[in-house]
Structure formats: C-alpha cells, structure tokens
C-alpha cells in the first residue's frame, strides 16, 4: 500500500516537472551512449562503428523515451490536463458563445440553488437553531370522520405527556399576536404561547436572562413574563443591555422581560418570524377565553420530540392508544378525538403545508429552466464540433482514437459547466435575495421567514445537477463528432442545405425541446395568473371595496368587557355621524385573518348525527347592522338589533349551509338549537360567504350577538364610498376623543384583507412568472443561435439561390419558415405536454380549469411572438447575403 502511494505521488509530482525530467533523461542516455562508445573504441572499433554498435545495443531511443514517460507520469492525468488546456483555448476562440452558454447555465443554477435551499429548509431543517429537529414532529388534533385537523386541549396534552414512553418532550406552540407599543411607536407583533419547557426542549439557550420555569405553566395568568426575540431586542429596544427585568405591556397586562432568544432563532413557525413568547399560564391573556382547565377546549398546536431511535409510526401507535384511553375515560369531551404526529413539512398549522406545493412546482420549473439552459450549451458544443470538423478529421486520420476525441469534447462540456456551476454558486446567495425582491409585498406586522440556508448540501446538489446534466447534453454532440466518416469528411463539404444534415436535425430537436418546455411553463404561468385574477374577482360573499376595516387593541390598553362594550357603543355613534359613512359595525373576529374562529358542539332537535359524528360548527359574534355593513344578504329573518342584549333571549343567525344541514327542508327561523350549553334562538338565515379563504368549501357557520357575548377586542367595519386614507384621520380623531390613550390599527379595505390571506398563491404566481420569463428568454436564445448558425453555414447555398434569381424576400421567407416550422412543432409538443402536466397544479388553481383554452391561446401568442423575433434577425441577415462573396468563399 505504502509503495503504491509512494509511486502515485512520485508520478504526480513528475506531471508538473515534466521539462526538468525530460532533460534529465536525455542527459542520462547521452552519458550511457558515450560510455558505450568509449568502451567499443577501446575494443578497437572505429569511431563510426563504435557509435553504431552502441546505438544498436541501446535500442530505439525515442521508443525508450516514450516508455519512460509513460512510466514516469500519470498518462491519464496528463491527457486530461492537455484536454483542459485545449478546451480553454477553444472557449477563448468563441468568447461570445461561451459567455452566453455559461451565463444561461449560471442563471439556471442560481435559480436551482435558491429553490433547493428553500425546499431543503422546509422539508428537512426548517428550524436551524433547534438542536434535534430531525426527531421533531408536529402534533395536530383529529376528529373522527371530519377531514382536516383540529387542536388539542391542555388537560389532554398533560395526560399524553405523563403517559408517553416514546416521546422525549411535548411542546406547546400556539401562535398569538399583540400590539407592541414602545415609546410612541405601536406595531403589531407576532408571538407564541409556549409550554415552559419550550426553550430547553429545543436546545435553544437565551443569550440574556432565562427561558421559562416549570411552574410558569400553571396558575391562571399567574406568570406575566416574556422572552423576546433577538430581532425585537435589537430593533425595538435598541439592543438595551439592561433589558432583563424591564416591564412591557402585552395585551393589557404588564409583563416582565425575562430573556432574549439567541440570534437566528425566530421561533418554530414556518413562514413567520416570532417576536415574543409567553408561558402557557398566560393563555387567557393571549387566547381568550380561559381554557386551561377545560378538556373540551382544543386550542393547542405544538410539537413532540421523539426519543432517539423511535420512529414516528411507533410513537403514533402509542399516542393513538393513549387517545383511545382518554376517549374511554372522558366520553363527553373526547368522543372521536385523537392526535396525529406529522413530519414537520406537513405541519398543518403553519405555512409549511401551503408553501410546500408552491415550492414543488417551483422545483419542477427550475429544472425545466436548467434543461433549457443545458440545451443551449449542447447547441453551443454542436456548433463548435461542426466548425472543428476539419480538425477532428485530421486528428482521426493521423491515428487519434475515437475515445480520445470523445474525452476531449466531454472535457470541454465539463469546463463550461464547471464555470457555470462556480458562477451559479457564487451568485446563488445574491440570486436568492434578488428573487425575494420579486415577492409580493408582505402584510404589515409579519416578518417573512423562509427557512433554508445555502449550505454545502444545497450547493453540492446544485453543482452536481449542473455538471451531470451538461455532461448528458455534451455526450450526444461528442458522439456525433467522433463518428466522422473519414472517407467522406476528407472531401471538403462546406455548406449544405439549410437544416440538412443529421447534426442539424439534432440541433433542431434541441430547439423543439426548448420551445416545448417553455410553452409548458408559459401555460402554467398564465393559468396561475388567471387563477390569481380569479381570486381577485371572486365573490367572497361580502362587499370587498365599499367596506373598510380597522381595529383598536383594547386588550393591550387594559380594557375589561364592560369598558370595551361602552367604548364600542360610543364609537359606533360617533363614526355614524361622520360624513360619507353609511353604516358601521363590529365583529369578534375578522374574516380572512390568520387567527381561526372558535367552534362549538351543536345539537338541533330533529337532527340525528351519524354514529361517530360530533358536530362542531364555527361561529362569529357580530354587532347590529353587521350584515348590512359588510354586505351579506339575509335569506330570511332579521339582523341583530340593539334589542338583542344581555337582558333578552340569546339569538343566532345561521348560514345557508347550516340551515340546509340541520333543518333540511325547513326554515330554522324561530327554532332553537344548543351550542355547547347555551340555547340559541334562530332569528335569521344569512347567505353563505367565505370565512377564512377564497378556496374553502361551504361549511356550516353561525353568528351570535356580540352584545350578548361581549369580548374585549373586535374588528370595526365601515361602509363608505370614501377611501381608507380619507377615513383614517377622522377615525383616529373620534377614537382619541373617547380615550386619548387609544389609536386605531391600519385602516384597510376588505379586499386588502383577502389579499393578505392569499399570499402564498401570489408567491407561486410570482415565482412561476420569474422562472417562466427566464425559460422563455433562454429558449429564444437557443432558437436564435440555431437559426443564425444555420444561416452562416449555408451562405454558399443562399448565395447560389440569389445568383440564380431568388429575391431577398424569398430568402427571408425560406429562413423564417424554417424557424417557424420548428417553433410550430415545439408548440404542438408543448401543448400536448401541458395537457398532461397542468393538472398537477390543479389544487393551486381557483376558478380556472387546468386546460383553460384561453391560457393555451395566450401562451401560444407569446411563444409565437418571441420566436418570430428570434428568427427574424438571422433571416434578415440571410436576405442580405452578397452572392459574389458567398460563392467565392
């Protein structure tokens, strides 16, 4: 072994000291011959004979030198180095083409690296600062027979924690929000209610102060402490070193800042960066009403960290068994309820599961872009090999092996792709940041946090994909080139017919692929754009443009329910007096916000639920005139009025779907139903509207009267023809007149509110748009280079045609028709592929069929226009061929 190594290194060093060694060998051989001649002469030979004899005994000098060289260096390495040197020379000879190809690849690789890094971030390592994220799974509640996911109650959670043997730790992580006002600056902040073990279980150590203590899980609102994020500490508190112990009002309660999380830890929520954390005992303050002792109140989202060596399936079995026990012990609250352990990338309660399909599509798209870029490189190599026909022929004729030629051409391909890979990786970070610039603007109060780092894994994968794909594409031109038939090649054959030979056919195939791929991308982009437009134009079931919404964070200001109710009554009176306001109303929850509605188990006399069904319906609490202000039509009955207050019968308005489900064929108005323990009198039926997202299916929903179910916070709605900007100052003035310490949040239209919720949809459109544009540009470059090369190669033919009387316009037509035929076939192939592929994005589409003819037509128009432009220039050049010069060349 040691000998082998020694030999290898000795050989390796010789590669780089070739000249020195050559001289050495020559000197040694000369000395040998000299001594042989001396000896022969001493034996009495003539000088001439002595020399001849010495040479004969020595054998062929050149032969020995050759043998010696092979023994000395590493012949493989030497020829490779030779190939590389030669390759560089060839690249320098056509710098324009080389640069273009490298640039195309660089862009494609940059795009790939960016998307890989996001995918890797969301799939495998969403929380870089967390110690054992590979053992972390998401916890989601399930209800038997009901699709989708619910949450988990705290008593259940504690039971799971106590009885599980396979899970190392259970973590509560429930998103919440507050208004963070420091000095005179008030801003929305996103945070989380977490179990006391949160930081410890995740292996995240606060850089200042501490995490939470075990006792801070318990006692109703007993531990008003908070840990803030590094970013919040820097941005909002100016990095104050004496921050620990400082008091801060959060949701109206004075909290003590006990810790600052380390830099780079933004919480455990894919999509948003959290700014603060509070312990579980503060649940009521951040997630009213009080639920900590109620086994039926499911509100906890969170994670579990499995013990080392435990699989998710094993842990799931254990948890399901525990859930069954709980169901047996507490049938009233736990009928049909369970817990599912999910891999992090399927986490239902953060953006992972909405971002993932988007990124998957982006991945397919960037791979398309890469393929198109590779086709361009392949094209470039073909051009090169054609121009070098003569050279190849001669090399073959004087005895070069075909394998050697093949290797030479592959080396050149490799040089190109290595350059591009290096470039792509250098620019990947920059490219990623540039892509983020294209992202639609973020709703206020949200800091986007797409996990994913450009680490060696991502970079290696991108480089690998690039080099592999270029080699693949370089292989065919190389094989073609090495297949030269000497006999015919030596008879010079410059200038065939436009698009004649087999090589030309291969190049045309490449263009076909490019056109087809870009067409698919175009169709996808148009579909997503139409779908985004569809969402824009979709009727959510309420007015979007004539209605403004705003809110005042009374919670943060320390209001109780009574004061909040008085404040709202006064505010409604005041704003209704403002010019331009037609009506005003409040609701407990704002539609299309991240925070979900509450739900209640309902029972209706006459409705028999299915054996395992535990009907739960979501609801909102709304003020009088809510329906007329927001613009939801009532199908029968009446709105809530000022009469519906704490002194009168509790009332409810149900939606269309709920009426149809629980009162089939009957009008529920005047009937009662039970929601949890409360009996409600149905006074109206409202038309269905969308409550959370545009794409949701109609579900049962009901409204209760806000005045009978007072909450501290709520959203304000104003029906007006004025703009938000015109209303906001007046609104602020009226609010200050009631309480000088209060200020409204941003005033926006309901349209804007919907837009904020469809952010991922927009992101998908943006990404596809950017990548689709890239693909189109690359394909255009490919088409252009093929056509202009074809023209330059058939100069002689074009000249001949001209000499024989063809007009410039004839030649223009000839070349154009060539290019456009290619495009047409490409588009047909692309259309076929699109029909098969676009159904894959069906779940991202809204109100557009994946086979929407208009999308196909638009993609066709764009593709046709681009190919016209790409073909016209070469064709125009062809039409200006000078026949005399072309024939003489």
């Amino acid at each position: 072994m040691r000998e082998l190594l020694q030999t290898f290194f000795s050989r390796l060093t010789s590669v780089f000291r070739r000249r020195h060694h050559d001289d050495d060998l020559t000197a040694e051989m000369n000395s040998h011959l000299q001594m042989a001649v001396d000896l022969n002469m001493r034996k009495g030979m003539s000088a001439e004979d002595a020399r001849r004899q010495a040479l004969i005994s020595f054998g062929g000098i050149e032969n020995v030198k050759e043998l010696y060289r092979d023994q000395r260096g590493l012949p493989m390495l030497e020829t490779t180095l030779q190939d590389i040197r030669f390759g560089f020379r060839m690249l320098r000879r056509s710098p324009g083409f080389s640069l273009l190809a490298i640039l195309c690849l660089t862009v494609a690789i940059g795009a790939n690296a960016a998307v890989f890094s996001w995918l890797e971030g969301i799939l495998f390592r969403p929380f870089p600062a967390v110690a054992h994220q590979e053992r972390m799974v998401a916890l989601a509640g399930t209800a038997r027979g009901v699709p989708g996911f619910t949450d988990i109650s705290w008593p259940d959670f504690l039971d799971y924690e106590k009885n599980s043997r396979l899970i190392e730790s259970f973590i509560v992580d429930r998103i919440t929000g507050t208004t963070l006002s420091i000095g005179d600056r008030a801003e929305r902040a996103t945070g989380s209610i977490v179990s006391a073990n949160y930081f410890e279980a995740l292996g995240v150590h606060p850089i200042l102060g501490r995490g939470f203590l075990p006792e801070e899980n318990f006692g109703r609102n007993a531990h008003p402490v908070t840990v803030i994020s590094y970013r919040t500490w820097k941005d909002r508190y100016g990095g104050d070193p004496a921050i620990i112990g400082r008091e801060q009002y959060l949701n109206g309660v004075q909290h003590t800042i006990v810790g600052v999380a380390p830099e780079g830890f933004d919480g455990t929520f894919v999509g948003y960066a959290f700014q603060f954390w509070v312990p579980l005992s503060m649940q009521e303050t951040f997630n009213t009403p009080y639920k900590l002792e109620d086994r039926g109140a499911r509100w906890i989202e969170g994670f579990a960290i499995l013990k080392p060596g435990v699989s998710r399936q094993q842990a799931q079995q254990e948890i399901s068994a525990l859930a069954q026990q709980l169901e047996n012990t507490y049938p009233a609250t736990n009928r049909g309820s369970g817990v599912k352990l999910m891999p992090l990338w399927e986490t239902p309660f953060n953006q992972a599961n909405t971002l993932l399909p988007t990124l998957e599509i982006a991945l397919v798209v960037v791979i398309f872009v890469l393929l198109i870029a590779c086709a361009n490189v392949s094209n470039l190599l073909l051009v090169r090999s054609f121009a070098r026909r003569q050279e190849m022929t001669i090399r073959l004729a004087i005895g070069a092996g075909r394998g050697r030629l093949l290797r030479q051409l592959l080396t050149e391909g490799l040089i190109l792709s290595s350059f591009a890979a290096a470039g792509g990786l250098l620019f990947a970070r920059w490219f990623r940041n540039a892509l983020v610039l294209f992202f639609p603007p973020l709703p206020s109060g949200i800091i986007i946090n797409l996990p994913g780092k450009l680490d060696w894994r991502v970079l290696a994968l991108s480089a690998g994909v690039c080099i592999f794909s270029t080699l693949l594409f370089a292989l065919f031109p190389a094989i073609q080139a090495s297949k030269i038939d000497l006999a015919t090649a030596l008879k010079s054959e410059s200038g065939g017919v436009v698009g004649g030979s087999r090589r030309a056919r291969f190049r045309s195939t490449l263009v076909l692929i490019q056109v087809a791929l870009s067409f698919v991308l175009l169709v996808g982009t148009v579909l997503l754009m139409k779908s985004a437009q569809g969402i824009e134009n979709a009727n959510p079931g309420f007015s979007t443009d004539g209605v403004l919404t705003s809110s005042v964070d009374l919670f943060a200001a320390g209001y109780d329910k009574v004061r909040a109710k008085n404040f709202r009554d006064q505010l409604i009176d005041r704003v209704q007096g403002l010019p331009g306001i037609q009506s005003a109303a409040f609701s407990r929850w704002l539609p299309f916000s991240y925070v979900g509605y509450l739900s209640s188990p309902v029972s209706v006399i006459g409705y028999v639920p299915a054996p395992d069904e535990n009907p739960e319906v979501e609801f909102n609490a709304v003020s009088p005139e809510y329906f007329s202000t927001v613009g939801i039509a009532l199908l029968s009955g009446r709105e809530f009025t000022g009469v519906d207050d704490e002194k009168s019968v509790p009332v409810a308005i149900v939606n269309d779907t709920m009426a149809a489900k629980f009162w089939p064929g009957r009008n529920p108005v005047g009937d009662h139903f039970k929601a949890k323990d409360q009996s409600l009198l149905v006074v109206g039926v409202a038309k269905n509207s969308k409550y959370g997202t545009i794409r949701e299916n109609p579900e049962p929903f009901y409204y209760i009267a806000l005045r009978q179910n007072v909450s501290v916070n709520g959203a304000l709605y104003l029906r007006t023809s004025l703009s938000a900007a015109a209303i906001a100052p007046a609104l602020a003035r009226e609010i200050r007149a009631i309480d000088p310490g209060l200020a409204p949040m941003e005033t926006i239209t309901m349209r804007q509110q919907i837009d904020r919720r469809s952010y991922t949809q927009k992101l998908a459109v943006t990404l596809l748009g950017v990548f689709g544009g890239m693909a189109l540009l690359l394909a255009a470059i490919g088409l252009y280079s093929v056509m202009s090369y074809a023209v330059s190669q058939s100069k002689r033919e074009l000249g001949l045609r001209m000499a024989l009387g063809a007009e410039a316009s004839d030649l223009l037509r000839l070349v154009m028709s060539q290019g456009l035929t290619l495009t047409a076939i490409g588009i047909i192939l692309g259309a076929i592929a699109s029909l098969a592929l676009t159904s894959l994005i069906g779940n991202l589409l809204f109100s557009v069929s994946p086979r929407d003819p208009l999308a196909f037509a638009m993609a066709f128009a764009v593709m046709a226009a681009v190919s016209l432009a790409a073909t016209f220039l070469p064709a125009w050049r062809a039409s200006r061929t000078d026949p005399v010069r072309a024939l003489r060349e």
């Binding site: 030999t7 040694e28 000395s31 040998h32 054998g59 032969n63 020995v64």
Partner: protein, 111 residues
C-alpha cells in the same frame, strides 16, 4: 535472435537490477547493463534502453535511489544504489524466485 539467448521478462529484469546493485554498490545504468551481460555470459540479451524505465519504476517504489556523479572514465553519469527497503525487497524476490524455479523444475521432472 539465436534461441540460446533469452529475452528478459519484466519482473525478472527488476530482480536482476536489484541483485546487480546489491553486488556492485552504487553504479550507473551502463554499468548495470554490462554487468548483467557479463554475469550471464552474454546469454541474457537486453535492449540496454529498456533498463531505464525499469530503473525509474524501482526508484518510484523507493527500492533504489539515484544521484548524479562522475564515472571511472570521467563521464558525468547517474549512479543508482540500493535502499534499505530495496534490500529487503531483493531478499523477498530472490526467495520467491527460488521457490518458483524449484517448483517449475519439479513439475518438469515429474511429467
């Protein structure tokens, strides 16, 4: 080429060179060629040139070392000498060779 003169197999050449260096001490390529011819009574015919790749091979393996010096006739020449691991190698190869030839002899006699 007369039948009585054998061509040298590659592996054998290595052994011959090592043995020559062991017997003669530091010596140049021409000297090695002469010595092999003399010792074998001119029965072994080598192309003197092929000696050089063999010398290189042995040097790469670390069995011999070389340095430039002056020959007995005042010619500049490269002198080769056996290294310690070369001596060890020689022992092993010589033994291997004896075993091999003994075995072949036995086979030839019995059949």
């Amino acid at each position: 080429m007369p039948n009585s003169k054998a061509e040298v197999l590659q592996g054998t050449l290595d052994l011959l060179v090592l043995k020559t260096l062991d017997a003669m001490g530091p010596i140049h390529g021409f000297g090695i060629a002469l010595r092999i011819q003399q010792v074998s009574d001119d029965l072994l015919q080598i192309n003197q040139g092929t000696l050089y790749p063999a010398l290189l091979r042995l040097e790469q393996r670390g069995w011999i070392s070389s340095k430039w010096g002056i020959s007995e006739n005042n010619r500049k020449a490269k002198f080769y000498s056996l290294t310690r691991s070369g001596r060890k190698q020689l022992g092993e190869e010589a033994e291997e060779w004896s075993r091999m030839s003994a075995m072949i002899n036995r086979v030839l006699k019995t059949s």
